[in-house]
Amino acid sequence: MVKFLKLYEKIGIFILIVAASIFLTIVSPNFRNMDTILGIIMQGSYGAIIAVGMTLALTSGGFDLSVEAVMGLTSVILAMLIPQMGFTLSIIIAILASCFVGMINGVLITKVGISPLIMTLAMQVILRGTSLLITGGRQVVIAQKSFMTIGASKVFNIIPTPIIYMVVIFIVFYLLLNQTTFGRHIAAVGSNEQAARMSGLNVTIIKTLVYVLVAFTASIVGVIRTSQTLIGIPTMAPGFTLNVLTIAILGGTSLAGGKGNLIGTFFAGIFISMIYYGLNLLNVQIFYQFLSVGLVLLFALFVNGLRIRYLESAKVKGIRI
């Protein structure tokens, strides 16, 4: 039992995915189609990419509510700059600007000591205002159709590009968190900041870098989404931040910090997308999507709570864990 529970911690979300796949295969003939499956993964990739960044933030003991506004800012910068500067330079500037925003978040959180919640919330409001100011409140159409290749084309005519970005970002962040000193430092800061400081880690730089990385992932998704719609939208993705947090938490990353599960995050993003797909099949209204996401979140965390309590009582009884 203990062994199973240890395993469940690692692959719990994977069990949910298998269950959902079996269910969808039975109810929907379309699901056996490769295009459908890739479509579902692509829809999940947007949330998953940012959730990967959010997982780092949660691991460091903070979190970031400004990601949806960073997406909007990226979108607006792209729309304004592309006519003058071309794609590459515009994308670089948009991503750098987002990273700069992340840096401000990080510096104010670490140096002034503002709680991440309030700081990133204020940043969200400021960025939304700034994005709206830049475009004068309008949505800006991007005339260059070829910009679409970035987010709306398929590699080898099969795999949509967002999936490629998701996989690359996941691998890079996975290596970063699990194989580098920097990754271990993030976890150290998250589990006990005071101790990390005492043992000579530069907490300020570590945390600031984490917020830069979160903004970076949000900016990437901003680029992808803008490329797909060819419109610069200052109010892009309202409420998306909560989806991202849901994915990260569902993936098994603890809010208390110190423990990040990137594999879980990756699959949780896909799982949420499967729920949406399944509900679309049933032809129910969008409200039921909210309901199911909320219920799945509560259920998963309830099961997780049971698991932790079982392991604790096992420890008391002297069973080796």
């Binding site: 104010l108 919330l121 939304r128 205002g129 700034t130 409200f287 909320g294 979140l297 965390l301």
Partner: protein, 327 residues
């Protein structure tokens, strides 16, 4: 040399204490003075002042329950959805069971939703942030499904008058807010419950060991949030004349939490200030109204609100830094 530095430190400490006691009042007065000066004849009038306080009751009342909750070291981000669900249920039933009945239903539903949150947090041991994040989706979805996404209009005279009529020259929401704060103050300062809340927030384990039933206190706190959210829902629906499942309370949770944190309640729990939450709610509304009256571009308003928020919270940190120097 020694004396000089000693004097310097004392004045630092004094400055810190000064900011702690009067910082929010000064910010409020500066905002009020600034806009009174910028737009004479519009902002600095009795009617405007009255209206601003009336509007602030919506966030102000919600902030009471949240102050208690954050003082115990917990957190509730489902309040916006809770507001909407309670509001649409009450408003939809009002034609059948009268306005009074609708108001009572709204408050009782919110109370019950808060209670459910509390039970989930304590008995199922799901962290408060995640429970209420889940409930944020669930409550909103039920509000949508129940109404089929149609606004529930309020025709009833009694309910409409709650948010819009005046009594002895003052709008009724101001009285309601005053009574709510009065009761909350007594609860926090004069009853054992207040001490238990602070004990739980300071050190939950120590509170358990000293015989406090921590679970019950937490459930009580979440239920209190429900109570005050219910009252705020009644006022909000009354002012707007309708309860809209999608728009009602959308983003309200962040306004409420902002007011509480701006008011000086520490997110880590254990200490908090009801007066601070009230002042912060006033600051938010005074600033917003002032900028609208001065015809500031609404996008600039957003930017300015965010900047003021960061500034005000930094001031609070400055206080700790100044006082901390001497410890």
């Amino acid at each position: 040399m020694m004396d000089e530095s000693k004097v310097g430190l004392t004045s630092k400490q004094k400055a810190g204490n000064f900011i702690g006691s009067f910082g929010l009042i000064i910010i409020l007065l500066v905002i009020f003075g600034l806009f009174s000066f910028l737009i004479p004849g519009v902002y600095f009038t009795w009617v405007n002042l009255r209206d601003m306080i009336r509007f602030s009751s919506f966030v102000g009342i919600g902030a009471i329950g949240m102050t208690f909750c954050i003082m115990t070291g917990n957190f509730d981000i489902s309040v916006g959805s809770m507001l909407a669900l309670a509001g649409v249920l009450g408003a939809s039933l009002a034609p059948r069971i009268s306005g009074v009945g609708g108001v009572i239903v709204t408050i009782i539903v919110a109370l019950f939703l808060g209670f459910i949150n509390g039970v989930f947090v304590t008995k199922l041991k799901i962290p408060a942030f995640i429970t209420t994040l889940g409930m944020l989706f669930v409550f909103r979805a039920i509000a949508y499904i129940y109404t089929n996404n149609t606004p529930q209009y309020i025709q009833d005279r009694f309910w409409i008058s709650i948010g819009n009529k005046t009594f002895l020259g003052l709008p009724i929401p101001i009285y309601i807010m005053a009574v709510c704060y009065g009761i909350a103050y007594l609860l926090l300062k004069k009853s054992p419950v207040g001490r238990y809340i602070i004990a739980v927030g300071t050190n939950s384990r120590a509170a358990t060991l000293s015989g406090i039933n921590v679970d019950n206190i937490k459930i009580l706190v979440f239920t209190l949030i429900g109570l005050f959210v219910g009252i705020a829902a009644v006022i909000n629906a009354s002012m707007l004349g309708a309860a809209n499942p999608g728009m009602m309370g959308d983003g309200w949770e962040f306004q409420v939490i902002t007011a509480v944190v701006l008011g000086g309640t520490a997110l880590s729990g254990g200490s908090g200030s009801l007066g601070g939450s009230l002042l912060a709610a006033l600051i938010i509304i005074f600033l917003k109204t002032g900028m609208s009256n001065a015809q500031v571009n609404s996008y600039w308003q957003q930017v300015a609100t965010g900047l003021v928020l960061i500034f005000a919270v930094s001031l609070n940190k400055l206080k700790f830094w100044l006082i901390g120097q001497t410890q």
